[in-house]
Amino acid sequence: MDLGNYASLAHFGPELVLGGGILLLVILDLLMADKRRLGDIALLIAVVALLLIAMEPVTPGAWLFHRMLVFDSFAIFFRALIALAAIVAIWMSIGSEEVLGCDQGEYYAILLASTFAMFLMAESANLLMAYLALEFVSLTSYILTGFLRHNRRSLEAALKYLIYGGVASGTMIYGMSWIFGITGSLDFTVINHALTTPGALPVLAVFISLVLILAGMGYKVASVPFHMWAPDVYQGAPIPITTFLAIGSKAAGFALLTRFFFPALSSLTAAGNWQALKGVDWPELLLFICMITMTLGNLAALQQSNMKRLLAYSSIAQAGYALMGFVVLSNDGIRAMLFYLFAYYVMDAGAFLVVMIVANSTGREDIDAYRGLAWRGGIVPAVALTIFLFSLTGIPLTIGFIGKFYLFAAVIRGRFYLLAIVGVLNSVVSLYYYMRPIKTMFLDTPNGDEGAVTVDFWNYGLMGVLACATIVLGLYWAPVLAFATRSMHFFTGPV
């Protein structure tokens, strides 16, 4: 179905709500005296968007706005995930000491704009839309990262992010221009058709352009070697934004990456496996990138003493794990990747939340601030963080384990034994640094100069929900799996 502009609006509800919300917030910012309410309103808007997504009918899919966007279950999955990330980020922002010092109206407006942009990234059916959305996400991310404008680290991070992002996206559009030149179209489906049509495929040119495009997309998911901005930005940004970037932006990146590399560049065989373009061996390239990503992420994390930075490197490694599902070129793998991204959302959001809670109380983000946390009144955040970190490690009874289980299942099934071994070794290495905060919280005794940790009701609630979700979904993950299975479907209509 190729829907025109008006017909498309039926499937554009969440985005419309967000767009309207942005404007509403900007206006309300001028009108309202108590700016703190703005956060609640933004939360409401995000929730409404999520609800609208939840009510989307699962149809075979459609093109929206003259093949600018694609509406399918895959997009629904990522939009839901991004909306959830936005909700968590807003919720955290409401309870964050850092954010309270900023301009509330603008902050939430940009946050919603960023969410909106990520939605578009997940639905792009077109190189132009993909570039526009990606750049939109980037721009809002720069702003959000530098939002603490009196904070050196924040601005510094924003500048690095911006320069890095500018180069990455510049590289990407150069690559895209070649794809455009080879296929004569910006439309993913047409590109797919053009490239898979028998004939002389310009293998080298396609490969070069894919590498260049990968710079832009890989930079969004923070895969090695396009990852180097992530630690600085994660450390410099306000924690809710870090969380949002870590889970939302990364999810959007995965959405775009998957949509571009699978339906646009590959063809699905009857057995549920994907066939890459003949001669263009990006799967090997990505396999390599995947292994390097998780290894470097984990190794670098070993050295960190700042929790945000540690989680930043960890999230690089986690992206590497998720890529395992990507590189096996099967629907199994994609499902595992979707599942893992969901799991990653739950556990990483939880981990960052605890970091924020501790930072709120102590003003510190280094691991030493966690010394003896369990024994100085912070047993609940300590236990919660432990659950999240165990989940990130992939220990059973947590959703992280199930996520890894499906990933490894897909890898083993696809006979990527080297990848399996590398993944396994990485799991072991990662244990070491994930255990460090746990060790500090439980095994060390407090020095006495660390502040007390208090948790307000709302943070408590969110932490509880995330921790429970980590465990409950680790025991009963059927709904998530069903959701991921349902979302494996890409809409590709006729050319």
Partner: protein, 104 residues
């Protein structure tokens, strides 16, 4: 390369600008300098889009893409300069080497 100017000419021109942009990006320590390199890269990409649009028939697709690139470059420049200004207020320098607070 003889005779009439063809697609390849534009592509090579674009490639040269692209590599010069890359070189700028790589070697500059000044944030604004790096952003200038980025602008060169964007322009080289735009040349490609327009060339492909001209020679490939998909006329408006390429041109519109170029317009969006320009537009987004402007937006990025605005934000970039805002950040540079803010940093300048805080650091009194825009040498990227000085922004070394964040380090591994």
């Amino acid at each position: 390369m003889s005779g009439a100017v063809g697609l390849d000419h534009y592509l090579v021109l674009s490639l040269i600008i692209f590599t010069l942009g890359m070189f700028t990006v790589l070697t500059r320590r000044n944030a604004i300098g790096i952003l200038m390199g980025v602008e060169l890269i964007l322009n080289s990409a735009n040349i490609n889009y327009l060339a492909f649009a001209y020679y490939g028939g998909a006329r408006y697709d390429g041109q519109i893409f170029a317009i969006f690139v320009i537009m987004l470059a402007a937006a990025e420049a605005v934000i970039g300069l805002a950040v540079v200004l803010a940093i300048y207020q805080n650091f009194r320098t825009i040498d990227v080497g000085a922004t070394e607070n964040l380090s591994g």
